[in-house]
């Protein structure tokens, strides 16, 4: 398992790095509008009515952006949670915790593809 983790590290780091960069860049607008402006009534709710959300989400660019909005934060999150665990003395159990966290991110990534195809 340690050997497998080592082999995958460059890929995980790439996903994590893009998770921070592109994930942050994409998430800011989503959190601002979907997470705050619409719920607080600053933006009218029909901006993301079902019809409009469907139209945006089913466009190829919309699908790519939604994929980025799910996958990238998941890998950034998983990797940083592994670091938190290590920083608080969890090195001995890293061989168990790291695969679990990355599996979580991987599962979410697979579900993301399914969810986006379902739109």
């Amino acid at each position: 398992m340690k050997h497998l983790l080592l082999k995958l590290e460059p890929l995980i780091w790439l996903l994590f790095g893009q998770g921070i960069l592109l994930g942050t860049v994409l998430l800011t607008g989503w959190v601002l509008v979907v997470g705050l402006a619409i719920p607080l009534g600053i933006v009218p709710a029909d901006a993301l009515s079902y019809e409009r959300a469907q139209m945006l989400g089913s466009h190829i660019i919309g699908r790519v952006i939604l994929l980025g909005l799910i996958v990238l934060p998941l890998w950034k999150g998983a990797h940083h949670m592994r670091h938190i665990f290590l920083d608080f003395g969890g090195a001995k159990r890293d061989v168990l915790v790291a695969p679990l966290l990355y599996l979580l991110a991987a599962s979410g990534s697979v579900l993301a593809v399914v969810a986006i195809v379902r739109i």
Binding site: L26, W30, V31
Partner: protein, 146 residues
């Protein structure tokens, strides 16, 4: 007050001739001084993981029909979700500022024959990307265009 670091931290492959006292963590780790910003940066991992799954749930609901999607919009109006997203926004901005600050110096001096742009240019490009994409996405999501 000192606390033990990993018992094998910086240990040589063969023990020395006399017994050694165990390695100690730096006093300020993990919440003191500059370490606080670092630890908070890592802790945003929890925020990002939750955000990723929230977006996943939203997209799944979008594919499940109008009632499910309206349920997402309704759920987002609760104090819990608004509060979470407010904290998440602070977290995301904090991550961006800290990471973009470090990004220019993390570029190698060359990749093959190609040299990266000067560090201030890289920083400007990153912020331009961030502000540009945020503005565009916000306008689209808020119904401004399309």
């Amino acid at each position: 007050m000192s606390r033990n670091a990993h018992p094998d931290a910086m240990a040589p492959s063969k023990p020395g001739r006399t017994r050694t006292a165990p390695p100690q963590l730096p006093d300020q780790f993990p919440f003191g001084g500059r370490y606080l910003a670092y630890t908070l940066f890592d802790l945003t991992g929890i925020l990002y993981l939750l955000l990723g799954f929230l977006v996943l749930c939203a997209v799944w609901s979008l594919g499940s029909g109008e009632a499910a999607w309206n349920g997402v919009l309704e759920r987002n109006r609760s104090m819990l979700y608004v509060g979470f997203h407010a904290i998440a926004l602070v977290g995301v901005i904090f991550v961006g500022i800290r990471f973009f600050g470090f990004f220019p110096k993390a570029q190698p001096p060359r990749i093959g024959p190609v040299k990266p742009p000067p560090k201030p240019v890289i920083l400007a490009m990153l912020y331009a990307l961030w502000i540009g994409v945020t503005a565009f996405l916000s306008i689209v999501l808020a119904g401004g265009i399309f």
